[in-house]
């Protein structure tokens, strides 16, 4: 069974601060996805990283896939209250089971 570990599990920061969330595994993944889930909603896909060492940017969010394709990070610059939510990393998928990390619950305080 492929497992994904996320850290930290909880993060409370002030608006304008930077933060990084980590997703680690002992297994190699062909790709990893990051999702954000707001209360009362289903997870929404943010990005897919496929190539080892790949870096993708989505406005103030920067995603990186580790060279060995076992880990990924999400960095948010100048966090805003609208960034508040549960951030989930996931791997697998396609015709195989998707494995989700436990998630990082982020609160950005105005």
């Amino acid at each position: 069974t492929q497992l994904l570990e996320q850290s930290p599990q909880f993060l409370s920061i002030q608006e304008g601060e930077n933060l990084t969330v980590y997703c680690n595994s002992s297994s190699v993944f062909s790709s990893l996805q990051w999702y954000r889930q707001e209360p009362g909603e289903g997870p929404v896909l943010l990005v897919t990283v496929v190539t080892g060492g790949e870096v993708k940017k989505l406005k103030r969010l920067t995603f990186q896939f580790g060279d060995a394709r076992k880990d990924s990070s999400l960095h948010i610059t100048a966090a805003q209250p609208g960034d508040t939510g549960l951030y989930l990393c996931a791997g697998g998928g396609g015709y195989q089971k998707v494995t989700f990390g436990i998630g990082t619950k982020l609160q950005v305080i105005p």
């Binding site: 996805q33 009362g40 897919t48 989930l88 996931a90 998928g93 396609g94 998630g103």
Partner: protein, 113 residues
């Protein structure tokens, strides 16, 4: 991406009863899945809904408790049977077309009293 509608969005049910959750997609999809998300937790896969055949259940989930139907490529139902308070959770429908990404409905928040 596909638009996924789940009904009901929330419900409060008496223990011992059953609730059927519907998932409707606006386009044909290859894969449909049902997840459970307990309060403050991540997602746990219940089963893969297979069109025209029995669903494939994950360890710890059984058909008698969570019967699933998938009559076509755009619709599936999940029933939570003989409910107890431990079944209180968010139930999520997810779809995919063979790629790594999963797309979710808004979820059904179930409270069993």
């Amino acid at each position: 991406s596909a638009v996924i509608s789940q009904k009901p969005s929330r419900d409060i049910c008496q223990r011992g009863t059953s609730l059927t959750i519907q998932c409707q997609v606006d386009s044909q999809v290859t894969m449909m899945f049902w997840y459970r998300q307990q309060p403050g937790q991540s997602l746990t896969l219940i089963a893969t809904a297979n069109q025209g055949s029995e669903a494939t259940y994950e360890s710890g989930f059984v058909i008698d408790k969570f019967p699933i139907s998938r009559p076509n490529l755009t619709f599936s139902t999940l029933t939570v049977s003989n409910m107890s308070p431990e079944d209180s959770s968010i139930y999520l429908c997810s779809v995919g077309n063979g790629g790594p990404e999963a797309f979710f409905g808004q979820g059904t928040r179930l409270t069993v009293v």
